[in-house]
């Protein structure tokens, strides 16, 4: 019975992760904005107990903030590469992120990388799809120049299709990116 319920827990948890992977990541409310936060007031909140201490469960620690593992891919573990408006060149200050991606692939030889190009909502949809493609291939070329072999890399363009619709300057800057999505070993 205990085994069944822990398995059920896992299914529920992983399907929640899968769902989170499909939709936009919900913004986490600040503690004072939640009902609990309001009830507690501004005082200190007790640190959570370490669930890993429980010996006879298969509970896993939660992934770091912003990391989404849907079973096949991991998003948010490697940092996204950002671009200037209407540009597809990898900027000097973004190169370390691709170097880190190369190191990750070396440490995890079974895994591959999906380079997913994005644009902000400005401009036009079809051109942005091309621009996103171009950004992904610029990141791909840079990784190739670091010695990453081609069959470790996959690319995709989402153009401006997932861009924040009413984004301000800061939100738009975050939309101009190549997301480095880890494809897990089969």
């Amino acid at each position: 019975m205990k085994l069944v319920s822990s398995k059920l827990c896992l299914v529920v948890a992983s399907s929640a992760l899968l769902f989170a992977g499909c939709s936009k990541k919900p913004e986490r409310p600040t503690p004072p904005a939640t009902a609990m936060g309001m009830a507690l007031g501004p005082g200190p909140i007790a640190p959570p107990t370490d669930v890993n201490a429980a010996p006879d469960t298969s509970l896993q620690p939660r992934l770091p903030d912003g990391v989404i593992d849907d079973g096949n891919t991991i998003r948010g573990l490697l940092q996204a590469v950002y671009f200037d408006f209407d540009q597809s060149a990898v900027k000097a200050d973004q190169r370390d992120k691709l170097k880190a991606a190369k190191e990750y692939l070396e440490k995890n030889p079974g895994q591959r990388l999906l380079l997913e190009g994005h644009c902000d909502w400005q401009g036009t949809a079809e051109y942005n799809l091309g621009l996103g493609d171009r950004r992904a291939s610029a990141a791909k070329k840079y990784l190739a120049s670091l010695g990453v072999v081609a069959d470790k890399l996959e690319s995709n363009s989402k153009g401006s299709l997932e861009a924040a619709k009413d984004g301000n300057d800061a939100a738009r800057a975050k939309d101009r990116r190549v997301e480095l999505v880890i494809i897990k070993a089969k």
Binding site: D86, S88, Q122, G123, T124, A125, E126, Y127, L129, G130, L131, G132, D133, R134, S137, S155, N156, S157, K158, G159, L161, E162, K165, D166, G167
Partner: protein, 394 residues
């Protein structure tokens, strides 16, 4: 105290309109010199409403109650038939009467109104009210393809794929749509969709980005953008997505190819800028169109007036519709709006087009008169977002 709260309520009510959202999609231009004053009426409120909406979107006309040049009257003549009677001037000299059959009463009214336009516009313009639209909406929370008539009647949701979807384009005979969708593979592929049955077939699915598919005017070829060989390049296939041949070769992103009305040339947008280029549909060296704008995209070559290409240009921080004219060798902004105007698609007369009016929060479809800049919103607020319209003229 009750008086005070009543006063506050009154203040709130009076000041409420100040906070109301501006009317996106609507631009009214005062032009008396080049407009024809007409009186439009119909025997039923539904037909009257539709007739006023149609003529109200036509920049050649001004709707008036008195001092009209033409009097245009519609009446139902059967389940799918409408009679139109047109007279000229205050003396009511007969211009024409006709009974028109449509696919529905609504469609018959639009056809009869096109007859009236052709008999009264004095410029030789074709009617365009019977155009059918295919477009994208995310009103369900996901981007799906819809079709409707030009005034947002007879709306049908075609896809229920729950996938990212963009730019549906009609085949010239209206039998199918080509669109780019992330359906099935999770990557942008081109699908062919039968609007009657909603049946999907994969048109092309190569590695990389497959997008921007458009039919040639005779329906026998399709131009598209594929990035499978590195850079997004222009390719042309047959109507089944076979015999795919590459037409461009350079290290610059290309997008949105569109055939000329005779099918001999292509216009497309290309980096840097992007700028617009034309090229023989069989391939060759691209020639730049000098528009005077730094960003030019989404060209649509008019079938009604082969001298005109509409496109989206950047003006300051905004995007507007521009019209390139081969006779003048230059382009001018034709949507004089305080919101973005993008995604132009010509209507049959070569003067009006459908475009998307966009601001930070919403997208709506509108009819623009490129002569005057008058814009009339056609997608109602209650529908939700509507964008990327493709026009088919039956």
């Amino acid at each position: 105290m009750p008086n005070l709260s009543r006063l506050l309520l009154l203040v709130a009510l009076v000041s409420a309109p100040a906070f109301a959202q501006r009317n996106i999609g609507e631009v009214t231009i005062n032009v008396d010199k080049n407009t024809i004053p007409i009186r439009v009426s119909a025997a039923t409120p539904e037909l009257q409403d539709l007739a006023l909406k149609a003529f109200g979107a036509h920049g050649r006309y001004k709707l008036v109650a008195v001092n009209f040049a033409y009097d245009i009257r519609f009446s139902p003549a059967g389940a799918t038939q409408v009679r139109v009677d047109i007279t000229k001037g205050l003396m009511a000299a007969p211009v024409g009467s006709e009974t028109v059959t449509g696919t529905s009463l609504r469609n018959a009214l639009l056809r009869a109104a096109d007859v009236a336009v052709e008999k009264t516009n004095q410029l030789g313009l074709r009617g365009f009210f019977t155009a059918k639209l295919a477009f994208i909406s995310d009103r369900t929370g996901k981007t799906e393809v819809y079709v409707a008539d030009l005034f947002f009647g007879e709306i049908k949701q075609i896809t229920r794929d729950r996938a990212l979807m963009l730019s549906p384009r009609w085949a010239p005979d209206g039998s199918r749509l080509l669109c780019t969708s992330f359906y099935k593979s999770g990557f942008p592929d081109i699908f062919s969709i039968d609007p009657a049955t909603a049946q999907h077939t994969t048109f092309v699915s190569f590695r990389g980005t497959n997008s921007g598919a458009r039919f040639s005017p005779n329906g026998q070829q399709v131009a598209m953008v594929l990035s499978g060989e590195g850079t997004p390049e222009i390719y042309v296939s047959n109507a089944q997505g076979r015999q795919v041949t590459r037409k461009t070769r350079s290290d610059a992103v290309k997008s949105s190819p569109c055939f000329s009305p005779d099918g001999a040339r292509l216009v497309f947008a290309m980096e840097a800028g992007p700028q617009l280029y034309t090229m023989a549909a069989a391939g060759g060296s691209p020639q730049r169109l000098t528009t005077g704008f730094s960003y030019n995209a989404e060209p649509d070559w008019s079938r009604g007036n082969p001298n005109r290409i509409a496109c989206t240009v950047r003006v300051g921080r905004q995007y507007q519709i521009a019209r390139y004219d081969f006779a003048k060798g230059s382009a001018e902004v034709v949507s004089k709006a305080d919101f973005d105007g993008i995604e132009p698609s010509w209507l049959a007369d070569g003067r009006h087009l459908v475009y998307t009016a966009r601001d930070r929060s919403t997208s709506v479809l509108c009819v623009l008169d490129t002569e005057t800049g008058q814009s009339r919103r056609i997608s109602p607020a209650s529908f939700g977002s509507a964008l990327q319209a493709s026009v088919w003229t039956p």
